[in-house]
Subunit: 467 residues, 2 copies
């Protein structure tokens, strides 16, 4: 329970209408996309950097954890109040403050929904590339906190590559600005990039300057079916070797295809054991040439069928195949453990083979799809946790998956972050010494460890508020 | 003077042949491209991360400053031993360890010369874009330390955008690895990007993983002469508005043109008051179309003459115009103060006007050229320091230049960093609170403040070793 004095102070800062301490409100802000749930003590909707700053000062005075939160769509528990405290929601700060067509930058508040920013800049002929799957509801603040990725990153890079400057409220309540509106800036340490991907543990972003690009003239979508996973995997390498970097280079493995066969708008025969979904964008003539070249290099590689979208409708149909994946997987088993390992592109075939072996060895279905172009594989271990000993089995298979990814010179997370879900595995990739430097940085910004505590580094402390 | 025990220990670490404590050796390692000079106590050439680590341990034990150094071509004193100590040269570590054509990455040691890396990857059809003017002699370690830029950054971004992973020896002598070979990685804080641009104050880079791109098929170089600076400045905006982002968009102002008129391979009449040097690269057909479109949008803007290179030789001739700038400026006055402010692209005309006013007001020639495409202007205040009161005048004009850049939402340094040259002005751009966070980060990594002390933050302490 939150102290009455604190509650009064919070009410003074953001107004009565933006403070919620009823059980029902606390429950609706207790979970995220992980499905795990921890009850906060109070929920506060802040309307400005000044309000966020005041909330942080109160929190420091009374040593109350603060959990910044956008849409709560994160996959690793980044917004979960594992130690109770104040869930600080930033969705009221949802203005696009500027779209500067001369300097190709936009300035936004953290509560702006990613797809909404994309639509607004596209109206001006501009382009904000990062496109996490949750783009229709996730917020830019969350994208910055997690360094969101998406299918287009193979060509365009991740969120970090588009963040030029920030206004940040530090854990102790100071308002600072980093970076700015220029592409070049080497004045002191790059705090901007340090905040991006810090999972809301170093500061609360209250304003974001993003880089924009001219909108590509056109795009072309292709779906290629293979009779072997090796064919698809080699296809990825061959496209890059042909000096083409597609916008999107997604793959679906055989188990994924089995899940979607019944609902796919494109017929997927039994012999189809892998799919590449390829999109190129840019000048109209160039992408036509690229599409032809891509088909040429793929043809020798166990291709069963190819489909090139001739218009927006056909492109949408192809994308529908990819989009049907997530919802269809639950039919295998009720509980999904969704990880986002990444390996160097050339190691994708090794990783897929290892995943197939682990699936056999542990006797659990593993469904794989994702961003083959940048080696980022979404690995879905599908189980029924009601089965005896399944929890432990999942832990072991995860550990093996992560170990394999690191052995293949990859990483345990390409897009989702560490949060609470991957804390136990972080040591596989990051040495103890390196971790200590990260902890020191955390301490430099947050001496009382009140901003999003229990994430990345520390073991989650079972809080009173845990449901 | 360095203690005999320390000297002995250093000799044990790197071998007798790599330790230099003769006055002549110390003098040759006492200066950089700023022309300022501070005598080190000893010069050590390290051959491996392990050796660097051991040197740092000795330095910590005896509290001796260590100054990492590549080619010493920096413009802000980043390698100067302002407090004496050990100049630690990394040029022996000059191997290109891997060029991975499948994953489009290279792995290099810090002593690799930037242009050499570029040549080697280009042989494989690949491309490393950052191209600082000093690329023929500067080293990759220095590029990482300073986050080097160059003309191509308007399209391709700066060094930071190409550094995927690092091996770093921390100030206390620990060897850590950050990032890796994957484009996506969100495991903990992004130490990689924190080290890039930290001016050798947080760690010594001993291995670098860089991102490569496919080499563009072709390029096209154009030189456009304008009768007014406004025409050229508006031209920059118009090109971007036409949704073309050139590889290079360099400009030369009237004072620059006056300097090079006699030696330029391209005739430059008196009426020519500004030049844009434009290069586009990519698919052959596209760049032809882009060149035509660029000429169309520029034509109404006081264009005197245009020249489009039809072959490599003509392109080289155009670049010769740009390259002749630096060497020709000294004919105005013997002492050059070369700064690299940056403003949002649309503010370049305002900045140029302000510089012209300052030149008149102070009665000192200011020669401006640089990377108009990203707003990065190289401002050269040309004076004769033998004149009475000139030193103070230069300080004042610099202060006004930096203030104007910051007022125009720009930055006091786009490429060169702070070092010792811009420490006095850093407060104009970075708030005291933000500076304190940077200092805390520095303390976290370097508790004894022995790695490159007296740079970025602190006032340089007049050391015994100062010449």
């Amino acid at each position: 329970m939150i102290d009455k004095t604190v509650l009064k102070r919070l009410t003074e800062i953001v107004g009565k209408e933006n403070v919620f301490d009823q059980k029902s409100d606390r429950i609706t802000h207790s979970y995220d996309a992980t499905g795990r749930s921890y009850l906060p003590d109070v929920v506060v909707y802040a309307g400005s950097a000044a309000e966020v700053s005041e909330v942080m000062k109160v929190a420091n005075r009374y040593l109350i954890p603060v959990l910044p939160r956008g849409a709560g769509s994160g996959f690793t528990g980044g917004t979960l109040p594992v130690q109770g405290g104040i869930v600080l929601v930033l969705t009221r700060m949802d203005r696009i403050l500027a779209i500067d067509t001369e300097n190709l930058v936009a300035v936004v508040e953290p509560g702006v929904v990613t797809a909404e920013l994309q639509r607004q800049v596209e109206k001006q002929g501009l382009f904000y590339p990062p496109d996490p799957a949750s783009k229709e509801f996730c917020t830019m603040g969350g994208n910055v906190a997690e360094c969101a990725g998406g299918p287009r990153c193979v060509k365009y890079g991740v969120t970090k590559d588009y963040i030029m400057g920030l206004e940040v409220v530090t854990p102790t309540g100071e308002i600072i600005r980093t970076g700015g509106k220029t592409l070049k800036n080497v004045v002191g340490y790059d705090l901007t990039k340090l905040f991006v991907g810090s999972e809301g543990t170093l500061g609360i972003v209250t304003r974001i300057v993003v880089k924009l690009l001219p909108k590509p003239e056109a795009k072309k979508t292709m779906l290629v079916q293979f009779s072997t996973i090796d064919g698809a995997a080699r296809g990825v390498s061959e496209i890059i070797r042909a000096k083409i970097i597609p916008t999107t280079l997604e793959f679906l493995d055989a188990s994924t295809i089995d899940c979607i066969r019944d609902i796919s708008p494109v017929p997927l025969p039994e012999e189809c054991r892998a799919i590449l979904l390829i999109e190129v964008d840019g000048d109209r003539e160039i992408i036509e040439k690229q599409a032809v070249r891509i088909m040429e290099v793929l043809q020798p590689l166990s291709v069963l069928d190819t489909r090139i979208a001739e218009n927006a409708e056909e492109s949408e149909e192809i994308w529908q195949v990819r989009r049907s994946v997530s919802s269809s997987m639950r039919k295998i088993n009720p509980d999904k453990f969704n990880e986002d390992i990444v390996v160097p592109r050339s190691r994708v075939p090794d990783m897929i083979r290892a995943l197939e072996n682990l699936s056999r060895e542990y006797g659990v279905p593993i469904v794989n799809f994702g961003h083959a172009g940048d080696g980022n594989i979404h690995v879905n271990v599908m189980v029924d946790l009601r089965e005896e000993g399944m929890e432990e089995k999942v832990h072991n298979v995860m550990e093996d998956i992560f170990r394999t990814a690191v052995e293949l010179e990859g990483s345990i997370s390409g897009e989702h972050g560490i949060g609470i879900s991957k804390m136990d595995y972080m040591g596989m990739e990051v040495s103890e010494i390196t971790m200590r430097y990260m902890e020191k940085i955390k301490e430099s910004f947050d001496p009382n460890n009140i901003l999003n505590p229990g994430k990345i580094f520390q073991k989650p402390i079972a809080a009173e508020g845990a449901l």
